[in-house]
């Protein structure tokens, strides 16, 4: 469980990047953090990782205050997947790359072997274990970084824009992996401005604007906010927007084209009978 109470942080005095944010993420959640570029999303997650320390407030991770912990200490509990895989991949094979984290944390040799094997399997990389990771596609590299985080056996996984620069198929397979991990009990925190992903996968959304938390609740509730979400730099998915605008014809809000087409087809059919 991750608990932030009244957390603030600023890079320049007088300009808070994170402003008095309180947030509690329970074990097993699938949450998303959304907002404009520069709204404080990434600062918030960097605070969680102890890469920066809060100016005010406290962060408690699994019952322990993190103020005196290093990012390496946090890594046992929280795996952080950065946006750009090229900033961290440095070894010659996928398997040894994934082994780096557990080695640093002092796992024993058999522990390393088993956790690497498990992480590769869960991210669908077993067949690529001996490949030079830099030669992989962006989507595959992103999976290597997820495996690298998983191998340290964290209970929480934070991913910063993991789908950027990937094609539709790669995105789907990445989200499938995350959903499976979530079902196996991992807490997933996704930092994203991909509204489609947010709508389809996240159960809870936290919206940041100018460093403050401006929304925290279920996805459906977010899209019922109307014009506010545009103000926060977000856009509801097209089908959600359309189905809401058709509500006077008895259409209820849905997310996918298939669901909406069924609703409309039923009504048209009834009209024809």
């Amino acid at each position: 469980m991750l608990e932030m109470t009244g957390v603030s942080y600023h890079y320049q005095p007088g300009k808070p990047a994170v402003d008095n944010v309180s947030l509690c993420i329970r074990a097993g959640e699938f949450a998303a953090i959304a907002g404009r570029n520069g709204s404080g999303k990434t600062t918030l997650t960097r605070l969680v990782m102890s890469l920066i320390k809060p100016a005010n407030g406290q962060i408690v991770l699994n019952g322990v205050n993190t103020s005196s912990q290093s990012p390496g200490d946090i890594a046992r509990h929280v795996g952080y997947v950065f946006q750009n895989p090229d900033s961290q991949i440095f070894r010659d094979t996928v398997a040894s790359e994934v082994a780096y984290g557990p080695e640093q944390l002092g796992f024993s040799a058999p522990e390393i072997a088993s956790s690497v094997a498990e992480a590769l399997e869960k991210t669908g990389l077993t067949a690529l274990a001996d490949v030079y990771p830099r030669s992989l596609s962006r989507g595959q590299k992103q999976r290597v970084t997820i495996a690298s985080a998983l191998a340290m056996k964290p209970d929480i996984l934070i991913l910063d824009e993991p789908t950027s620069g990937q094609d539709a198929k790669e995105k789907e397979s990445l989200l499938r992996i995350l959903t499976e991990l979530n079902e196996q009990g991992k807490t997933i925190i996704l930092v994203t401005h991909d509204m489609d992903i947010l709508a389809r996968y996240a159960k809870r959304v936290v919206v940041m604007a100018s460093g403050a938390k401006v929304f925290d609740g279920p996805v459906a509730e977010l899209f019922a906010q109307g014009n506010d979400i545009r103000k926060w730099g977000l856009r509801a998915p097209a089908i959600m927007n359309i189905s809401r605008k058709l509500s006077k014809y008895g259409v209820f809000p849905v997310l996918t084209a298939t669901e909406l087409s069924q609703q409309i087809a039923e009504r048209v059919q009834r009209g024809r009978m």
Binding site: R46, M49, L51, S70, P71, G72, I74, A75, G79, Y80, F82, N84, D86, S87, Q88, I89, F90, R91, Y100, G101, E103, Q104, L105, R134, S148, A149, M152
Partner: protein, 227 residues
């Protein structure tokens, strides 16, 4: 100083270096250093540069002590240190008063330095902030995987690979993109123009004349009077 053309300042840099070589007396060298610091102060740049000057002075003191310890005469050792300060401070003045872009322009259009070399210099500077940002990103990414950089020398060295590896690979791909970008935007395709005006004005000619006169004076002084 800021209003002089970059070429004048380049000549000034060379001139001060020549003066520092010509002058041998301690008061002369000391005066040159003081004059330069005063110039910085008059231009209102001392606040920005004093740290550099101080560390230069510190370095000069070490240099003097080392020379003295190695058997030089005290006076010669101090002269060597002062000369170093004189020649280094003039570069501080040059860089603090001249935009990189103007300097490149002057080098290419007036000193006939091939533009490829001149721009290598500016693009290298352009690299620095990016490189710092990238190294921070790499350090953070590896910190989240347990990298600490602590331990014995061997361990520290091997663990450093985790930072150097991604950084070097990224720098290589960055420089490749930048080289491509230069060509894409027509760099070196024909006669180029320069957006900054580096032409010499009346005050530049006056300054240049003054510097020639001083140089001649110092030379004469050295030959005739043996300063």
């Amino acid at each position: 100083m800021k209003q002089l053309a970059p070429l004048t300042k380049l000549v000034f840099t060379v001139a001060v270096s020549i003066w520092a070589m010509l002058l041998t007396s301690l008061p002369g060298l000391g005066l040159l250093a003081v004059a330069q610091v005063v110039t910085l102060a008059v231009c209102g740049l001392l606040g920005r540069t004093y740290k550099g000057i101080l560390s230069l002075t510190g370095f000069a003191v070490v240099l003097i002590l080392v020379q003295y310890a190695l058997g030089s005469e005290l006076e010669a050792a101090i002269a060597g240190g002062l000369r170093m300060i004189d020649m280094a401070t003039v570069f501080v003045i040059l860089l603090a008063t001249t935009k990189m872009q103007s300097l490149t322009t002057a080098l290419v259009s007036q000193c006939r330095v091939p533009q490829e070399y001149a721009f290598m210099f500016t693009t290298a500077l352009r690299f620095i902030p990016d490189f710092l940002a990238e190294s921070k990103a790499v350090r953070e990414a590896q910190a989240c995987r347990g990298y600490t950089g602590k331990g014995g020398i061997v361990r520290r060295f091997t663990s450093y690979l985790a930072l150097v590896g991604p950084l070097v690979l990224r720098a290589v791909s960055r420089s490749e993109t930048m080289a491509l970008s230069l060509e894409l935007r027509g760099f070196g395709a024909g006669r180029r123009s320069f957006s900054t005006d580096v032409g010499l004005k009346f005050r530049d000619y006056c300054t240049l004349l003054g510097m020639i006169a001083l140089t001649a004076g110092f030379t004469a002084g050295r030959i005739v009077y043996g300063w």
